[in-house]
Symmetry: C2
């Protein structure tokens, strides 16, 4: 006994440096846009799930569920914050999806929000390490640029991936960013500019890193009956998966293959009854340039070691267009908001209304990871 779940409406703020905005106002802006887009009456919303990662550490604000619900004029709802590091809001979408699919709820408002710039406690790298176990690898000094630096080094060693191929990820995504009015960076970069940018954590350079970003994105999830009743511009959720992967880098057999992504992808394809060859458009978690290569392999778009050549232009059997939003590298990475932001982008593609439209996009995928790919979501979305 299960019902089809759909994204009935989406909303987003601009992603970027947004001074003078707090979490509440960003979340409410995206949520109001999603509610209006969905045409679902706010009174039908039973749950409000706010995905947020470091709102407590960076701004001292928690209890976002009830506060944002009140700002939206929603009363007597079940409102909580859901946190899974950089996968917070896609994890929230998965919980909302499951409640609707099983018939426990008819309509759930899922919001992702983050402020990472100009906050009272602005110390970004320290805040991000909240997603590393402070009892083990945190006290040992691990940071995310260090983790991804090791991944890049190892990927180059194992598969012959070149520094130029990795730089091609940034070049591609910056080019896409030019066309996306929501993106933080709307300026292209050349391969030489990537390679000459300042070193961050060898071999990672500045333009291999996504920026710190403020922003919010929101989704109205409903069953398809409700979406039809209100004439929502609905897109079907063909699969919504959240799974744990290795929570510490010392748990990895091999840090260039992320078990959380592999498991979540396999399960999502199985639920949706499709394979990676069927996906037209994908938004992947390119927090660092090399991450897109690793993810594109772990999701089955390319065999291991073929992700680098593929992004650099080698012929491929795959039709999938990756990160036409500009990805985290260009659109920006407001951590708690990123998951909903990716779903926003793919929904726009499947409606045929994206500024960087993939022709005839019918099936899309989002991939969002928290920590060392310790929490991974994969959503497969289908045009109706």
């Amino acid at each position: 006994m299960s019902t089809n779940v759909c994204v009935a409406g989406v909303g987003s703020t601009k992603f970027g440096v947004l001074p003078g905005r707090n979490l509440q106002s960003l979340a409410a802006e995206a949520a109001r846009a999603a509610l209006a887009d969905s045409n679902i009456p706010p009174a039908r919303i039973g749950c409000v799930f706010v995905g947020n990662f470091v709102g407590g550490i960076m701004t001292g604000q928690e209890l976002l569920g009830p506060i944002v619900a009140a700002d939206l004029g929603l009363s007597n709802v079940a409102a909580i914050k859901i946190e899974a590091a950089c996968a917070s809001s896609s994890a929230a979408a998965r919980i909302g999806h499951d409640l609707i699919r099983a018939g426990a709820e008819d309509a759930v408002l899922v919001i992702g929000v983050e402020r990472l710039t100009g906050t009272p406690r602005d110390a970004l790298t320290t805040a991000m390490t909240a997603a590393i176990d402070q009892g083990t690898e945190g006290v040992a000094g691990l940071t995310f640029p260090a983790f991804w630096g090791m991944v890049m080094t190892r990927h180059m060693h194992l598969y012959g991936t070149t520094r130029e191929q990795v730089a091609a990820v940034t070049v591609k995504n910056r080019k896409f960013g030019v066309g996306n009015p929501l993106a933080q960076f709307q300026k292209p970069v050349t391969p030489d500019e990537v390679l000459a940018s300042p070193p961050i954590s060898d071999p990672i350079r500045r333009y291999d890193c996504c920026p710190a970003t403020d922003g919010a994105a929101a989704l109205v999830l409903t069953n398809e009956t409700l979406a039809k009743l209100y004439g929502s511009p609905a897109v079907r959720v063909a699969a919504s998966v959240l799974l744990t992967g290795s929570a510490r880098i010392t748990d990895y057999d091999e840090i260039t293959t992320h078990d959380g992504t592999v498991s979540a992808a396999i399960r999502a394809y199985e639920i949706a009854g499709v394979g990676p060859e069927d996906i037209d458009v994908a938004e992947l978690h390119d927090c660092f340039s090399v991450a897109e290569i690793v993810d594109s392999e772990d999701l089955g778009f390319f065999a291991k070691g073929e992700g680098g050549p593929a992004v650099a232009g080698a012929p491929s059997a795959r039709k999938v267009v990756i990160n036409p939003s500009g990805g985290l590298l260009s659109k920006g990475h407001p951590t708690g908001a990123t998951g909903c932001g990716q779903i926003y982008e793919v929904v726009m593609q499947l409606r045929g209304r994206h500024p960087n439209q993939v022709p005839n996009a019918r099936l899309g995928l989002t991939h969002n990871g928290g920590g060392t790919a310790a929490a991974v979501t994969v959503h497969i979305l289908k045009a109706l």
Copy 2:
């Protein structure tokens, strides 16, 4: 189409000042105890929900879902943190309950955990105000002792509640704490000691306040089929409700009546098919002594204004025994853990195995509030 949900097993650490323990180790201890108590094989767990409020602010640690799941040896699960301030873990229980009830999951591990003492960023009052909207009442200087001081003053003014009646809450709960080996305070206090304790926020004095506490508690929620299969010492969840109330004190018509509690209680009684007169034992959110009086009225145990006389010994038609655990005032208030801790206590009562056993307890209730009663849960539990 719905299935009966039960608490198949419970576990808890000692509540108190627990130096040298981090969130991960406390959460894992409580979770292992709950899994062992339930007799459910860990491999049957599909979701791990960690309720936690200020782990980010106080200790810099987030992503507790995947990290704790990994520590427990659980792989390929959906693991998230759920935050609703002081109601975080009971809110997590509600989400777990709904997933099981609707058939989306068979078994969910719900953990509540908090460290409030001796943390790297020890600044308790500031951390707690993360549950106040920093965009409005936070910047105006509101704190929780100030909020409850206003509530006490107003309750005395409106209903003639006396300072001595409010002190009787602390005296009663401290007496119960003596018998509870998990409690932080196991020493009685006299009415005179309460009234002579140092002023905190007029008319609130030190012994009117719950302490800062470290601790964790956990529940294994399953459907009754699974609990029977594995011979779990199960207690039925007759109702699990989470609702928003007023998220700001300026939203209140009257601060001595908490709309979130009233709505959640009405809905819970309706779902369970019982009334307040049927409840044998209740664990209420007595973060301050006067809160127990307000809550006991809002939950329907007493009419408005009768909560004070009732706790001070006036005859009442109600059989309910309130906070035999010692409540937050004696057992302690490890914020994110409190909701699961209350359910732990009521489950033990319904199994007939509580150190302060209420004779013939068959029906129990827990009430847990976050912020200015902005997020409220009510659970009704029934002996099988």
